[in-house]
Symmetry: C2
Subunit: 461 residues, 2 copies
């Protein structure tokens, strides 16, 4: 048995950890370097202290044993896949237990005739998509992190991404789950059918619950048939971001079938070009880029470009290359490289896009601080990044602006988080969107399923 490295300041005795090691052997990791790594996610939220141990689960039984142990010993648990979360939901608790699903990465079955896949939680999302391709199918949810993030994490956060305008969010592709509850009990939710009205919809409830209600160990997800024909990528530059917003509203309200519709403002394009030069021309105000698929992809792209032209779009192009979308996927690493960690993730109804762009420009002036914008524009989901020093003081100053952006989104009928979730980073913004009664209902459900409060406590709601 490996030697136990007990972090300083923990109140748990070595003998308590020994019982976990007795149950799980060398899947219990206590090496400080590994623990420090497992304590973080991709957000700017830093752990407040070292966890006690990390369980690298290899099976549902491992997860069950780990939670039963944590429940019995009242140890707080954080749950992680690839650690790509942007809201601090997977950050470890001081003296807590980290449960990692990264090793549970088997694609168990692809049921072609029912267009379903059974996957363990640790499967990398792009790997599932690639496996489905071999059968003429694909997995629609497509967060920008798809090549590194895991399906369990995607489900736990109800991840969004680039193709939501065509295929909805991750929740829309989840049919059934296997979940380990806080006390180690294993349950299944949902069904393999397209319709199911038996009991409460626990599948939707666990999806997006950010690790607070149970640990998702495997899932049955829906696949879709690969579209025929070759996709087309289109682009247009705008000198006026509000005009780009009106163009997007018009495109979404036209008869055209869209697969992707994204917006990058001029500052974001500059930063991406600085990070990974690809010859992308910096627009006057905003670049609109997207994709159409299917046998009518070319005609659809032409219709979209025509709508852009009617709204002042220039330098338009239609291409068979995917390069533009690849550039879009680099937005988060490019901003992170500048010390600008994306944390603002508001959503507005799509007809309010021009208004939200105008409001953000006003806030930039009011606070005398640059705000760049990357947006899943077709769903009205924006990631404004407030320029700030990469210091606690810099973030505190930026946070004031971010809260104003959240209020702006709510005033326009929107939401304070479109796809990143609340985690730890946005917890203070919750009262802007929820009444006390609404928060009380959320927490009553949490208390019903996790009465000891060990699972990702104090986060998400």
């Amino acid at each position: 048995m490996r030697r136990v490295h007990l972090p300083k300041g923990t109140s748990l005795s070595t003998s308590v950890l020994t019982s976990l090691q007795h149950a799980l052997g060398d899947r219990v990791i206590t090496d400080p370097v590994a623990l420090a790594e497992a304590a973080r996610d991709s957000s700017r939220y830093a752990p407040e202290g070292m966890p006690l141990a990390l369980v690298e689960a290899e099976s549902t039984e491992d997860v069950s044993a780990a939670l039963a142990w944590a429940h019995a010993n009242e140890v707080k648990v954080s749950v992680r896949g690839a650690g790509t979360g942007l809201s601090g939901g997977a950050v470890a608790y001081p003296g807590g237990l980290v449960v990692s699903l990264a090793g549970m990465n088997a694609i168990l079955d692809i049921d072609v005739e029912n267009r379903l896949a059974d996957v363990q939680a640790g499967v990398v999302t792009a790997d599932l998509d690639a496996a489905a391709h071999d059968h003429g199918l694909f997995f629609a949810p497509d967060p920008a992190s798809a090549r590194t993030s895991t399906i369990g994490g995607n489900i736990a956060t109800n991840a969004g991404g680039l193709r939501c305008i065509a295929h909805g969010v991750t929740r829309d592709s989840v049919a059934a789950l296997e979940v380990v509850l806080a006390d180690g009990t294993v349950i299944r939710t949902g069904a393999r059918t397209r319709k199911n009205t038996v009991g409460l919809d626990l599948t939707s409830l666990f999806t997006g619950s950010e690790g607070t209600l149970g640990v998702i160990t495997s899932a049955t997800v829906r696949l879709k048939p690969l579209p025929e024909g070759e996709p087309r990528t289109f682009r247009a530059n705008f000198d006026d971001i509000e005009a780009a917003g009106r163009a997007i509203t018009a495109i979404v309200n036209s008869a055209v079938q869209l697969e992707v519709l994204e917006l990058l403002d001029a500052r974001s394009v500059e930063l991406i070009e600085a990070f990974a030069p690809s010859g992308l021309r910096v627009p006057g105000a905003a670049l609109l880029v997207g994709q159409t698929v299917g046998v009518d992809a070319e005609a659809a792209a032409e219709s979209i470009v025509e709508i852009c032209r009617q709204h002042g779009g220039q330098d338009w192009a239609i291409s068979e290359s995917d390069d533009l979308l690849e550039a879009r996927r680099l937005a988060n690493p490019a901003l992170t490289a500048q010390g600008l960690r994306v944390s603002c993730d508001v959503g507005v109804p799509v007809a309010q896009l021009a208004a939200v762009f105008r409001g953000i420009a006003d806030l930039s002036k009011k606070h005398d601080r640059g705000i760049s914008i990357v947006a899943h524009a077709g769903d009205g989901n924006l990631h404004p990044t407030v320029e700030a020093e990469d210091t606690p003081e810099g973030y505190a100053a930026a946070e004031v602006v971010i809260e104003d952006i959240a209020r702006l989104a709510l005033d326009l009928g929107g939401t304070i988080s479109g796809e990143h979730g609340i985690g730890a980073v946005k917890l203070h913004e919750l009262p802007l969107q929820f009444s006390d009664d609404e928060l009380r209902v959320q927490r009553a459900i949490k208390a019903a399923l996790d009465p000891a409060g060990i699972l990702t406590p104090g986060r998400a709601y």
Copy 2:
């Protein structure tokens, strides 16, 4: 103030009811004929005694006042819209309170550019659809009862219908809700955006909760653009129902875009023709009927008919008339007229259709009892009707067969209810699908939101 008619056997004093009448005036109905009417739904589940009173709510405040009163006085509450439910979920409790939302039937707003509608719970579903048509939009959920059932009831039961294969279930069209909790507290859930990851997904949780967690008073629902071109209706007859099942699996797995895909077996067609003759030819074993929409509707219908032919389909036809689907909508009234109330509502993965048809034929032989089948075949959702006398003994005998059908569906990876819900009628089947732990989780959530257990208690799960 109107005179109070206290039903016999109630334990509540007149003074208790007086406080309700003080709050709600003549919206409190105690006329025995009206109460008897409000005590039933469209299922074969009969009320066990008369309710104390009916509240005909005209506002969210009325519902809140009624529930606060019921909560304070520990009176069981049933909730109803049009009373079209098929599982007994809206049947009144003896000495209970009935809250009717039928009078809250205003379409509050149609937000064309965001493709959203705000509606009160009592709006008839087809009225919402018609109002959306005026703006080039439509409301996709389309239960066979759409011309009488209300949107609140559709949401509370997560209703299915004919267009689910193309547009999903009711839950997929609900963006946000206003809900009155058991103690009268009013909350809002969801958002007007396409993406929202703030807190637990209470919108999905209340949708399909069958009146057990709260009373839905209004909703924000998603609309879709009306397809261009004229729809096409297609049909084909099969001499072998298993071949029809294989044809459906092949159609659903083809590249064709479907709007509707239904199956009626020969016995069902006979009954519909007897109820409302339309010249529908009775097939050897099964009639497959469906619809395609959009500019490619004719070509899509031709592809489908070709797949039917390859699987032995005969007498195929493609038409611009909607008559065949109208006939399909008469299945429930036609069976009801025979004393055969549809109550079986199983679902299977669509590749298991031939197997479930074979299994039902085997059960028909085993029990020596006719079983007719109407199916939303494209989603694998079947309504088998077991022939039985319209007496308690007849139903008890049929129930044995129905339970065997439920077991068959589960053995094939299916569900015991695709769209009608559990209500009171199917409560005894729940342990076939849920483990004790799974039931415990459902009931823990119920207890967290309705600790006094007044809202539709003892039903759904």
